[in-house]
Symmetry: C2
Subunit: 311 residues, 2 copies
């Protein structure tokens, strides 16, 4: 199985490395890390043990990779306007497209150009970030839940899950991809935004009892919005939210990707993590006051940042 990795940030590099390490035929579309990886390979500094892949198939253009069996997409969603162009040269009639991007709207973006049956989506629970060029740091977690864009539990999803699991990435096939996406938003909406806005990590936020209560209130809003989307089974806030909080309490000063993006002066993934979920909620008549408020504050900083960057 030929696999292409598009969007080789922390997520793409880490999963690509795991797949190659377990024998996969992996081809990386690279940008920032192209020179470093082609020269010295890819280094993974992981809580599960460091390893080094001396030889990587690295490319700077998708055309050089050609058609593959699986495209694994880890692009930042603010680059989604480029996604179809980057992916198209990799796609034949049998190619499966798997987006592991954050938030909503990514599968729809692919569906504008490719057959819906070719599209799958997944949710990655991965604490990782990029080190120096050629290095990715894996800080914890890593499991994936994936499913069909068209819905239902497919044998293809089961096989893909088995492939990841065999590569050391615990992976579960799910029947309701949309439900899994909303479950992930229940974490992303409070923590990505609050950390980016305040410059505090998850541990610092949860240490403040007022902010902790607001995190729970944000989560409660998102669960209500998700449950209005006709999920196969509703998310139970009384079980799910305490579990997420408990999980986050164990993350030692973790800085979510959006916080790192803001600190690095990058744009934020506001469309997929905030704007589209807010729109989906609004269409079902569910109002998310705290989420809307947080989104507005993040947008303001975004424009300010962009204005500064332009100067």
């Amino acid at each position: 199985m030929r696999i292409a990795i598009v969007g080789a940030g922390a997520l793409g590099l880490y999963y690509g490395a795991q797949l190659q390490r377990s024998g996969g035929d992996v081809h990386f579309l690279l940008r920032r890390d192209y020179a470093a990886i082609c020269a010295d390979g890819l280094r993974v500094e992981s809580v599960d043990g460091d390893f080094h892949l001396p030889k990587i198939h690295g490319y700077s253009r998708s055309e050089e990779i050609g058609i593959v069996d699986l495209v694994l997409i880890g692009l930042k969603t603010f680059a989604n306007a480029q996604m179809v162009g980057l992916v198209r040269p990799l796609v034949g009639p049998q190619t499966v497209l798997l987006t592991l991007q954050n938030g909503l709207g990514n599968e729809d973006c692919l569906a504008a150009a490719f057959a819906p049956e070719q599209i799958m989506g997944g949710i990655a629970f991965l604490c990782a970030n990029r080190g120096a060029p050629g290095t990715v740091r894996h800080l914890g977690e890593g499991r994936i839940r994936l499913g069909e864009f068209c819905g239902g539990l497919s044998s293809r999803a089961e096989k893909l899950a088995a492939l990841f699991t065999a590569a050391g990435v615990p992976c579960q096939a799910v029947a309701d991809l949309n439900r899994a996406r909303w479950e992930k938003l229940v974490w992303n909406i409070p923590f990505n935004g609050l950390c980016a806005l305040t410059g505090k990590d998850v541990t610092e936020l949860l240490a403040d009892h007022c902010v902790r209560a607001e995190v729970v209130a944000l989560m409660t809003e998102v669960v209500a919005a998700g449950n209005a989307q006709g999920l196969t089974e509703p998310i139970d806030p009384d079980r799910f939210i305490p579990r997420l909080i408990e999980m986050t309490d164990k993350m030692d000063h973790y800085r979510p990707s959006m916080m790192l993006d803001r600190l690095a002066g990058q744009p934020l993934e506001l469309e997929s993590i905030y704007a589209l979920p807010l729109r989906a909620a609004g269409q079902k008549g569910v109002s998310l006051p705290r989420t809307a408020f947080l989104h507005a504050l993040l947008s303001l900083g975004e424009k300010a940042h962009l204005a500064t960057a332009v100067k």
Copy 2:
């Protein structure tokens, strides 16, 4: 009429200067500006024309002032724990205490130590800040609405309003002080907090259409909370909120006091402007999600600031 000014920040200095300029017998309790004002007097740089009062009765201790007819209180509310001690030496049986401080709880704080009939409160619509020691800058507005802590329209309030008005400070006596306080909160809760949190002035905030919508949403919350307090006449959000927005649109890059406090590394008036209004709303079963969220974010910065200050 002997008048003492306690809390000679921008507000106390400006109103004290206007009262003295029009012939009032004004005595200022000073701290930061004591040396400068005793040496060179008080300079007011005003949109209505600059003026200078070469001779000011300045004191560093209330005991030196002694009993007065009117105490005008402009202390920052985070200093309210010191308020009774500062005011007590000024108060005889006929003394009127007029607090022009922000938010809720200030009259109650005085009522713990003085007869409720001696207490009045007022709302100042004043754009002013401090310049170098001995200088106060008046950027616009200035009008006051004042009333009795015990409620009702008194002839004493009418006389005091006439005194201010004669001193060039448009002033209106109101029957329902609590209603006037809530009306002011409808402005303070969005703008003080958002400006302090984001570091943007009112003009920058209102230029962003998402944030503008959130300002209106915050105002709508506060009107609902105010209207649950048994006001003599409810605040009509459809008339009042557009009027406040229109008024603020005319403020040219105004920075509210809480923003200046944060920039100066001072504590914020969170108790009187957020915590007490949130509590009053909660007691009436009204929930203010955006206000609570904003308060939590401001508190977080506050503790971070205090932690930094301690280091």
